[in-house]
Amino acid sequence: MKAKVYVTLKSGVLDPQGQAVARALGRLGFAEVKDARIGKYIEMSIADDVKDIDSHLKQMCERLLANTVIEEYRYEIVK
């Protein structure tokens, strides 16, 4: 199976990269872009026989994949 993890900055944490991208899109003529936030996407191949994949993924995110001081995460498991 696969696990797809999305890590994004918490709302309220300044994202200068996202702001720069939003401005660049505006310059390309996409005036409708009001804001952009940059995050990370992590795709993992996971052994099929893992029992507690949900709690393992939570631990992976908490302990390494996300810095929960500034980031939040969500994940999907694709069988």
Partner: protein
């Protein structure tokens, strides 16, 4: 006193720290490799700057989980003095030795220049001998140094803001803040005060030939502190 400089793959200020501790301060110093699980008889630890593990995932995230950091955490819990510089500060925050996080500079630029720092907060092994309010001139060199913390007021109330970016006269202005850090914060300490982290590089400003030796005061303070403790 024995000082250990931790060396991760991608550290690049490890030799500078080693030089200052060994040659400038004349203390026994050794490198501790990231795969080691003990700090031996070290009496103080430096987490140096650089780009440990290529800054993969987040600056400091991989190094924070390396074997040597278990020993550094145990050392810090016993009250051992730890100085975390630049990438070392990012590692210390990722490892939970210090609170907060260092994020992408507001300017989006890699900022590489001299800054002025005001020394304040509670006494720490690295600042006790520096008069409060003293302005230091030391360089910065980072892209992820914008300090973020969920409760800066509490941090300030506890005297845990140790260094702040100021102008040469001590004014806490936006112009003096090189990376957009909350409340111009350049360095902090843990609740006990024995772990101190900062984004600027005191080890790069510890000899007059480098244009400033203000950074040497942190190392001199540590030696005075250890002398006092013995």
């Amino acid at each position: 006193m024995n000082i250990a400089v931790v060396r991760f793959p991608g550290s690049n200020c490890d030799d500078d720290a080693f030089h200052v501790v060994g040659r400038v301060m004349g203390q026994p110093v050794r490198f501790a490799w990231h795969k080691e699980s003990s700090l031996g008889d070290a009496e103080a630890v430096v987490l140096p700057g650089g780009f440990s593990y290529g800054d993969y995932l987040r600056a400091g995230a991989m190094a924070a989980n390396s074997p040597i950091m278990g020993a550094v955490k145990a050392f810090a819990e016993k009250g051992g003095p730890v100085l975390a510089i630049c990438n070392g500060y990012q590692i210390a925050c990722e490892a939970g030795l210090l609170d907060g996080a260092l994020t992408r500079n507001a300017s989006l630029h890699f900022e590489c220049r001299d800054v002025h720092l005001c020394v304040e907060g509670k006494p720490t092994p690295f600042t006790r001998a520096i008069p409060a309010g003293r302005i230091l001139r030391v360089p910065i060199a980072h892209a992820e140094g914008r300090f973020v913390h969920g409760n800066v007021e509490q941090l300030e109330k506890e005297g845990r803001v140790i260094f702040r970016y100021v102008d040469p006269t001590g004014g806490q202005t936006d112009a003096a803040n090189p990376n957009g850090s909350m409340a111009n914060i350049a360095g902090t300490c843990n609740a006990r005060g024995n772990v101190v982290g900062l984004m600027p590089h005191p080890e790069r400003a510890s000899e007059p030939v480098l244009g400033s030796d203000d950074g040497k005061m942190l190392f001199a303070s540590l030696l005075a502190e250890m002398g006092r403790r013995v």
